[in-house]
């Protein structure tokens, strides 16, 4: 069984939910990323989404745009990102890593070369924001050959027939976008999310993570009550942005721990 399937099975069987933090690879500099990934795990992360920096992050709000810009100042490319995962794997063989990014850097490397390199580096899944199912056949077949999970977005605007089409391709989990907007937006309607998820589940074989705009323990707890996984990105990236270099890892770890605690209290105790 894959690392992703394992972590969902193990947490859900304990009535816990999966905590998925996101950071951008190479932010604020390439030297930080692996230690920040370990800090996320130390704080209670179950799975890490690692952003591939891109010059034109169309679906991201200003916080993650700036993270991409900081990484690109250091010339961080896809090969460097895969190198970071490889280094993380040297001391962490169990925490799944999902790469998240935009199509063009992967197109440039080539689907087959990317899949091979990603699998060899210890990547578990890939979510390409601007590669909807209609355009993803080539990448999906390359990924599946290497036992990498194609992860898809679902949105409040996704009609049922598309949920079914996505379900046929999705492995690992799906990422439900909590709102109409960009990452880090501040208008999540948690009750609307809760109302949508049961309908989605009818058409899905994989667990559902919810992200976009979850910025504190209360939000994480609200999502944990209805979804299988809680995805937090912009809030963590903001913590990196606002922390001095020597406190970055500890600040990130304690922030993740507070999210973990809030989620566990909402599901295990509650």
């Amino acid at each position: 069984m894959s690392r992703i399937d394992n972590v969902f099975k193990s947490q859900l069987s304990q009535r816990k939910k999966v905590l998925i933090p996101f950071i951008t690879a190479g932010d604020p500099s390439p030297a930080h990323t692996v230690s920040l990934m370990h800090a996320l795990v130390a704080g209670g992360a179950d799975l890490i989404e690692l952003g591939i920096p891109f010059s034109d992050p169309m679906a991201d709000g200003p916080v993650i745009q700036r993270a991409s810009e900081r990484a690109l100042k250091h010339g961080v490319g896809l090969k460097d990102v895969l190198g970071m995962v490889r280094q993380f794997r040297e001391t962490n063989p169990s925490t799944p890593v999902v790469l998240m990014g935009y199509a063009n850097p992967i197109e440039r490397m080539g689907y087959e070369a990317f899949a091979e390199n990603a699998a060899a580096s210890g990547v578990d899944g890939v979510l390409i924001v601007d590669l909807p199912p209609e355009e993803s056949d080539g990448l999906v077949s390359a990924l599946v050959k290497k036992d990498l999970a194609p992860i898809y977005l679902l949105a409040p605007t996704t009609p049922d027939f598309r949920v079914k089409a996505i379900s046929e391709r999705a492995r690992g989990y799906v990422y439900y976008v909590s709102l109409k907007g960009v990452t880090g937006a501040a208008h999540v309607d948690y009750s609307a999310v809760g109302q949508r998820l049961p309908g989605l589940r009818e058409n899905l074989q994989v667990p559902i993570g919810v992200g976009f705009g979850i910025s504190d323990g209360a939000g994480a707890a609200a999502v944990a009550k209805v979804a299988d996984a809680v995805i937090v990105g912009s809030r963590l990236v903001k913590e990196i942005e606002n922390s001095p270099a020597d406190a970055m890892a500890t600040n990130l770890e304690s922030l993740v721990r507070s999210l973990r605690t809030a989620m566990d209290e909402a599901t295990v105790v509650g």
Binding site: P53, F54, S55, D56, P57, M58, A59, G61, P62, Q65, E69, L72, G75, G77, L78, K79, Y102, A103, N104, P105, I106, E107, R108, M109, V129, D130, L131, P132, E134, E135, Y152, L153, L154, A155, P156, T157, T158, P159, R162, V177, K180, G181, V182, A185
Partner: protein
């Protein structure tokens, strides 16, 4: 060998061969589906077509003429140069024709708010104009650098009641304005229509923009026949995103005797790397919702472009141009900033027409091409816009303080 069917593209999912498609985040997929369905319905709706044509005639001022630039042709020595006078449209460029078509669609879809991206400001002005005409709220995204170099157009948009939002991310130019417009659309997708200004972006935009602008080529073809009794030997248009060029080329695709040439912004020269010529010097990739030729580095990051002309300063290009390039039906080349400036001044002095810096790229290529041809051959240049908006830029380059 039979002629390829140039009118069979795009397919149902927006593909021009391997180009085009729909590469956007899931949140926008249903909005693009809705747009595709509504456009497919209204483009064949008699009342929609009638209103579009009425507005083109009475509000935009179409048809604009084809004009024989006899004095400039004589000066250059060689083929006869003809100009399709898109600069004489209301708001001074071809852009209004597309903005109008999309606004009529927005109106029928019940969208009260329209957004747009703009580079030189021509599409922003066109969108602000049609928004005022139909009583819609209008927000225009414009790169901070372009806000500086196209100040008159910024003021025009404000006069027309639009909100102009300067974009400070990335390279602060057209591509970043497009990113920001997409971010707005994804946030306000229920009440907002995105009036995209060029024949790029996700399906159905490249097709829809082409269809609205293909009136340029239909008019020009009839006008050339009337004026000269013949089709042109060459049709030349500048290519940034490629909207004026595809509008001009489309009706000529079936006329194989007519050579089609798209002219990109060569900036400081292709060898300098400081240009905006993806078809001449880029490789295919995915940006802004479609696959097409792109300016990108070895990591797949989009490269910052350079052009004297804000409207051509874009690292991508409409997917149909990528397809036409690979099919060999159109050729693509580039001219430098200096060559464009030289042609700009020529047209001012020999013909009494101040051309847009974008269109000056097409003129510059015509100036190079004409002496290689016989005097009875004909080059049709799409004069896509007027240059009043560029006088500050030109003055600065020429060292003049206004």
């Amino acid at each position: 060998m039979s002629q390829p069917d140039y009118y069979s593209v795009p397919d149902a999912r927006g593909h021009f061969g391997t180009y085009g498609g729909i590469y956007v985040a899931e949140t926008l997929m249903s909005a693009l589906d809705e747009l595709r369905e509504r456009y497919a319905f209204f483009k064949n709706d008699a009342e929609f077509v009638r209103e579009f044509e009425y507005e083109l005639k009475h509000f935009v001022g179409r048809p604009n003429p084809v004009y024989h630039a006899a004095r400039w042709s004589e000066q250059i020595g060689g083929a006869q140069i003809f100009l399709k006078r898109e600069d004489l449209n209301h708001t001074g460029a071809h852009k209004i024709t597309n903005a109008l078509g999309q606004a009529l669609l927005a109106k029928r879809m019940g969208k009260k708010r329209v957004i747009a991206e703009t580079g030189a400001g021509q599409h922003g002005v066109a969108t602000a104009t049609v928004a005022a005409r139909y009583g819609m709220e209008c927000v225009v995204y414009m790169g901070e650098e372009d806000v500086q170099r196209q100040a008159p157009n910024v003021f025009r948009m404000k006069l027309l009641g639009a909100t102009v939002v300067p974009v400070s991310s990335g390279s602060k130019t057209l591509k970043d304005a497009l990113n920001e417009a997409m971010r707005d659309w994804v946030t306000n997708v229920d009440n907002t229509f995105y009036i995209l200004g060029t024949a790029a972006g996700p399906h159905p935009y490249p097709m829809m923009v082409r269809d609205f602008l293909s009136v340029i080529g239909r008019e020009a073809k009839a006008q050339m026949r009337e004026l000269t009794g013949h089709l042109p030997d060459y049709v030349v248009a500048c290519v940034g995103g490629g909207s004026n060029a595809i509008g001009m080329f489309h009706d000529f695709l079936k006329d194989e005797s007519v050579k089609l040439v798209g002219v990109e912004a060569g900036g400081l020269g292709l060898e300098s790397g400081k240009h905006a010529a993806p078809l001449s010097a880029g490789i295919p990739g995915v940006l802004h919702g479609a696959r097409s030729y792109l300016m990108q580095d070895e990591n797949g990051q989009i490269i910052e472009t350079h052009s004297i002309s804000a409207g051509l300063d874009y690292p991508g290009v409409g997917p149909e141009h990528s397809w036409l390039k690979d099919m060999g039906r159109a050729q693509y080349t580039a001219v430098t900033d200096d060559e464009a400036m030289d042609a700009f001044h020529d047209l001012c002095r020999f013909e009494g027409i101040i051309p847009a810096l974008e269109s000056s790229h097409a003129l510059a290529y015509a100036k190079k091409l004409a002496p290689t041809l016989a005097k009875d051959q004909r080059i049709l240049v799409n004069l896509s816009g007027r240059g009043d908006k560029d006088i500050n830029t030109v003055a600065r380059i020429d060292g003049i303080t206004l």
